[in-house]
Symmetry: C2
Subunit: 143 residues, 2 copies
Amino acid sequence: MELTLTGEYAVRVLIYIATNSEKKSFHIKELSKECVVPDQYLRKIIPQLTKSGILTSQRGNGGGVSLSKTSDKISLLEVIESIEGEIFLNKCLISSEFCNRTSWCEVHCVWIEARDKMRDTLSSRSIKYLAEQSILNKHKLSA
Amino acid sequence: MELTLTGEYAVRVLIYIATNSEKKSFHIKELSKECVVPDQYLRKIIPQLTKSGILTSQRGNGGGVSLSKTSDKISLLEVIESIEGEIFLNKCLISSEFCNRTSWCEVHCVWIEARDKMRDTLSSRSIKYLAEQSILNKHKLSA
């Protein structure tokens, strides 16, 4: 059970964009270079983040991508799930017909509880918070 | 991010064994039939659960498998991790060198927090608890 590299890259790109909020838009080449994300990943990530309303994409010479909303409104959960699909869960881990045997559903309930706690944590952290922490950490390192 | 079918089957088998605690040992054929788990999965699951100290296996005609410890000492987390390996996590979701860039570690921290909350939930539920819930639910269904 691991996050894909695509999900990791998406978070990295959004933190970079949020950290450089003085810029209006970002070209794929810049994001690829600055975030150390291969071009082919960006071409997969950007349409997904655009589709889910996190990024806005402008075509043409003056184009690029930008955040569709302020970074405090984008949670880590939203980013991960827009790339990976709904986080984690089994169809129902105990039934041969995937949850049609209600007699076994107590395991399903524990599973849902565990997933919800994980989702709550990811939901409570915004890209803005992560960008701020990143800047703080960089200052500490350069101090 | 989904649990494999093997992990699901392992939980199902252990609940069955714990529910039928009056029996001393269980043959693969019985487990396969009663738990609706294909034979080839059981031949993969049983050595893993034996290796991790959850099951004890006796060979020969009178042989079979049994729990190595009481079912209240076996957590859902222990079972899942003995089959799947350590639950969930990225190498480090934000660094190109997998966590060598400490400047980015704030995302890694959120990730660890989310995983720990999930693990705590799975750790807090024993196979005994799940077996008891299963029996209660069956009684409710047949009432």
